[in-house]
């Protein structure tokens, strides 16, 4: 491995930090190589990159006027034509434009909600696994209790009270889906906490926060990251559902709210399949992509089923 960092001598690394950095870089390269050989994971990655590109290029491909209700130019509810490759909605807007813009919302909401839930879940998970006494047990009970509450009714109740907007959806998904991560992190923390080097570090005077941040967190991260990709998939599904129920921002076309539009405008009864099929296919594609990537990462991080037996 050649290091091109100025001032760094690969022959005799001068500091512990440089050694750690080199090690981390090597392990990241190893992970990438392992991932590259995983067919499912690569397929997911390709699909994801395509959708991210679409989302980023949305304003270029379809100027905002194409998704404005008042400036729509197409015939309402008409099937695909040359000018409108995926047909139009009840206001005459191009479905294709709506979907490309929808990619932004769905991805952004899915990712931010997951970041939020991952942060909460990791912090609570590490703390509940690390503190063996009252605090740990309390946090564990709290996690279990939160797990019991059914997601959608809670999300509906919270969104109703907080108001219908995308930020609120992010918040709602974030604060209802952390328990899954917390549980995983907790069990990892418990198994790490049993290792003797933590005892030694504590004997050297390391405080709780330091131990949690410097020792437990880096060991927990790989599994958390693999789990996070799967959580993004679930977050996108949740956002789609909440938007479908009308709890999102009606002005921002996420795939879920497109389907809501289809439903409330009676697209199904007139057989307007072009309104219904594409948004759902996009959701399936992106969720599958994240699921495949997440599974590939899980296999790499925790290879229990490698090889024949």
């Amino acid at each position: 491995m050649t290091m091109t960092r100025p001032g760094f001598d690969p022959v005799s690394p001068t500091s512990a930090r440089q050694v750690t950095r080199a090690r981390r870089r090597a392990s990241r390269a190893r992970t990438w190589r392992a991932f590259r050989s995983h067919r499912g994971g690569m397929l997911g990655l390709v699909v994801l990159v395509v959708f991210i590109a679409l989302a980023l290029l949305a304003p270029v491909l379809f100027p905002p006027s194409t998704i404005s209700v008042t400036q729509a130019t197409g015939e309402p509810m008409s099937p695909p034509t040359a000018g409108f490759p995926l047909g139009t909605d009840e206001s005459g807007r191009s479905i294709l434009a709506l979907i490309v813009w929808g990619a932004r919302i769905s991805l952004v909401v899915g990712l931010s909600a997951t970041v939020m839930s991952m942060l909460i879940g990791t912090v609570i998970g590490i703390m509940s696994g690390y503190f063996r006494g009252g605090l740990g047990l309390l946090l564990n009970r709290f996690t279990d209790w939160f797990l019991v509450i059914p997601f959608l009714p809670l999300a509906i109740v919270l969104a109703t009270v907080l108001g219908a907007s995308l930020i609120n959806i992010i918040v709602v998904i974030g604060i209802t889906s952390w328990p899954g991560t917390a549980r995983l992190v907790r069990s990892q923390t418990l198994s790490i906490g049993a290792r003797p080097y933590l005892e030694r570090a504590r004997a050297l005077g390391a405080g709780d926060a330091h131990l949690m941040r410097r020792h437990i967190l880096p060991n927990v991260m790989p599994l958390v990251l693999a789990n996070t990709t799967l959580m993004v998939a679930l977050a996108i599904l949740s956002e789609t559902t909440l938007s479908f129920l009308g709890l999102g921002n009606p002005l921002a076309p996420s795939w879920g709210s497109i389907l809501d539009g289809a439903f409330t405008s009676g697209a199904m009864t007139v057989g307007a399949w072009w309104y219904v099929l594409p948004p759902g296919l996009c959701v399936v594609a992106v969720v599958l992509a994240f699921t495949l990537i997440g599974r590939a990462l899980e296999d790499i991080v925790d290879p229990r089923q490698q090889g024949g037996r």
Binding site: P150, F244, M268, L288
Partner: protein, 350 residues
């Protein structure tokens, strides 16, 4: 929560040192375990009730505004509500606990007691969801078993691809597609199924014709729900059985002269099926969200559609009541899951 990462998490923890205190009470280990489960569930239930109560009173905004938003409510109602909310919090809480389903408060939207509405609708939901879960668990488990046993072969790749795709689908979207394809009909598919409702108006539900009519109305929504549920069961069952197949006692079983099929059916599967069984019960939250959206798409008159209608209001009293009911359902399902696990796995009873 991905099915692959969760097979371990689905197992409840066996007895801990806490049981030392109950041991002296002379109870059998099984009874002790059951008691622990139920009391834990009751505690959770208590929290949920309290949570439900305070949720609406503690969030920003005028509670009266929430209750009456978007609806024309009679001034007597508003006065009654305001009088109610002016009472000391403790008194309000006690009133609430004594009557959590608020049979005295009328749903703002339907203008009938909330409790009555729930009673009307619950049967339809149980019919829909119950049938779907039954179908999904049987089919999903069989698929998962076969995919694991024939791991790496064509059946495994194909079924894994299909189940992963189904798992990625929003269930209501699948419902909409099926509705267009087989309810409304397209150029290539016949629209033979009804596009909504539970029964054709005018048909007597108690008659044979009524039963068949309801069954016919059930086909599309049940298919939708079952397809999405079975994906998760199949994935978990497959992962669980693959894990189990590496165990030594299976080699011992084959060494004794048993046929492969017998080894699988009598030894591997009973062990591997434990996480799936508990998952079926513990996944009720997922089932509920499916019910809400699918009932909406197919206008199925159950609790899900009721929640959607309440959402449109928004009808806070109704939302509160359905939220509580769903939470109770999940808690009860979790208790059943715990108890089932104890029945099926002797190690947990120890």
């Amino acid at each position: 929560m991905g099915p692959t990462a969760d097979t371990a998490a689905a197992r409840p923890t066996p007895a801990t040192a806490e049981d030392a205190t109950t041991r002296s009470a002379g109870m059998s280990p099984g009874a002790r375990y059951a008691l622990r489960s139920i009391s834990s569930g009751l505690v959770t239930l208590a929290f949920v009730v309290v949570f439900n109560f305070f949720l609406f009173r503690m969030l920003p905004g005028d509670p009266i505004g929430l209750y009456t938003r978007g609806r024309n409510v009679a001034p007597e109602q508003i006065a009654k509500l305001r009088a109610e909310l002016d009472k000391p919090i403790l008194e309000q809480f006690l009133t609430y606990i004594s009557n959590p389903f608020a049979s005295t408060i009328n749903s703002a939207r339907f203008n009938r007691p909330v409790w009555e509405l729930i009673g009307d609708r619950i049967g339809a939901t149980l019919l829909l969801v119950g049938t779907a879960i039954l179908l999904a668990s049987v089919i999903g488990t069989l698929i998962g078993i076969r995919a694991a046993w024939k791991r790496g072969e064509r059946f495994d790749s194909v079924s894994s691809a299909i189940t992963l795709t189904l798992y990625a689908m929003p269930e209501f979207w699948l419902g909409m597609i099926l509705l267009i394809m087989f309810g409304v009909g397209t150029a290539i598919t016949p629209g033979i199924f009804p596009i909504g409702g539970i029964i054709t108006p005018g048909v007597d539900p108690a008659s044979l014709e009524g039963v068949l009519n309801v069954a016919w109305h059930m086909v599309l929504p049940v298919t939708t729900l079952a397809a999405v549920y079975l994906a998760e069961y199949a994935l978990v069952m497959r992962a669980s059985l693959i894990d189990e197949m590496g165990q030594d006692y299976l080699t011992v079983a084959r060494a004794k002269g048993l046929k492969d099929k017998v080894v699988r059916r009598h030894h591997a599967v009973p062990n591997a099926i434990l996480p799936t069984v508990t998952l079926i019960f513990m996944n009720l939250g997922f089932v509920i969200s499916g019910a809400i959206t699918v009932e909406t798409v197919f206008s199925w008159p159950g609790l899900g559609l009721l929640t959607y209608d309440a959402l449109r209001g928004p009808d806070i009293a109704l939302l509160q009541a359905t939220f509580l009911l769903f939470s109770i359902g999940v808690i009860v399902a979790n208790i059943i899951a715990d108890l089932m696990y104890a029945v099926l796995d002797p190690r947990v009873r120890a």
